[in-house]
Symmetry: C2
Subunit: 242 residues, 2 copies
């Protein structure tokens, strides 16, 4: 049975640490839930409904929803209803291309600033991904994978494309999670090792190739999901994924 209103969702609740302001807590909570695909696309998210569910005043929810709309994570319709946008084949394709475009660029820009400590950190993160894969912990595979990419690109102290990249992740994330949840076995060629080797060799070309391959692998695994077409808006089957 499909959930009909917010009360039927089981939101992941992150505990609210003392220092964290309410608005940020709500924002990160909603963001995480969106990235995990916990919220059904098309279903309206209401300020008061979420406020009640999270036991906060409507104000921080209002702020968080506006920010998420600005980042493309949710869509404000003409009737001012807020929903998780449906995915279309074309949008999916374009978002993937944007990921490759922006992230290969960001990786290249980070390369000159990579030091030994960055490589150590990346290897540590990669180990945590392997661990998450072993536990078949789909949510953390995705979250830690993002941490890997973010850490790499952040090596560049003059980095400014990360917000753009995160916006693309947010638009792609909910759909990916829904699709991947269907995967029985998760098999990932470890492109991260290739990327780390490219960093050690300081090879721009190898680095770009590793990042692009990593992204394309993810896309391929999504495309491999049985019955994936049903998740695209208005395409229950038969349309090519391009």
């Amino acid at each position: 049975m499909k959930p009909k209103n917010l009360a039927d969702f089981e939101l992941l609740i992150l505990e609210k640490s003392e220092a964290l302001k309410t608005n940020q807590w709500v924002y990160q909570l909603l963001r995480t839930n969106l990235l995990c695909g916990k919220i059904e696309p098309g279903l309206p998210l209401t300020i008061r409904g979420l406020a009640k569910a999270l036991n906060v005043s409507p104000m921080p929810v209002r702020e968080a929803l506006h920010r998420l709309a600005c980042e493309g994570a949710v869509e404000v319709k003409n009737n001012r209803r807020v929903i998780v946008p449906q995915m279309t084949v074309e949008k999916f394709h374009e978002l993937c291309e944007l990921r490759i475009l922006l992230e290969t660029h960001a990786a290249e820009g980070a390369l000159p600033y990579i030091r030994e400590q960055h490589i150590t950190k990346l290897q540590e993160i990669d180990a945590r991904i392997d661990s998450a894969i072993e536990r078949v912990d789909r949510v953390n595979i995705s979250l830690i994978n993002q941490e890997f990419h973010r850490t790499l690109y952040s090596a560049n102290p003059f980095q400014i494309s990360i917000p753009l990249i995160e916006s693309v992740w947010l638009q792609l994330g909910p759909f990916s999670q829904i699709a991947i949840a269907k995967l029985e076995k998760i098999y990932i060629v470890d492109r991260h090792v290739e990327a780390i080797n490219a960093l050690k060799q300081r090879s721009t070309f190898a680095l770009r190739r590793a990042i692009e391959a990593d992204i394309r692998d993810g896309i391929a695994s999504i495309k491999s999901v049985e019955g994936i077409h049903g998740y695209f808006e208005g395409n229950t089957h038969a349309q090519s994924l391009g």
Copy 2:
């Protein structure tokens, strides 16, 4: 004499049409003023100050500032003060590279959808740019130029990179305007004609080249401004623009 508080700024006031909601009016007003470089970088923008200046309640201003922060147009400091970010040489360089990366991609994606009507529209916009150049109307040169690019990229009905591109414009805009205001004579090689010709020939290569050249021309004209180095944070002179 530098303005010390908001009251000393002369904000461009757009008239508020009946249909426009207050929050959107405030957002667009602030956005336009930022793009025109009307607001001194580094000076704190306060919710109550702007609300009083615009004669609205603090609420819509609060919303607009949050959105602009999300788009990178303003920066929220640790002390929760909101300012127009300073430009640095490295940031400027990176923003320009991002423009080229995203916009050549967007142009290429639009090409297959270009019809005669699009070309007509683009020519009309280009004529308005020429007119603005003749009038030495710097603000409109910039605004109409953006309209040209937006119109081109929007031909692709599955376009999703425009919000990302607009975010880059917003981060680049204030600085560009401040710099360009110093230019005695505005001379622009009309790369738009080259772009339109590329569209007619349906040449991806020529189109990408025209868009990149258009962007690089703009950068070059900014770099040509006498004493431009003084506008970069902490670099009164001598640092290369790369």
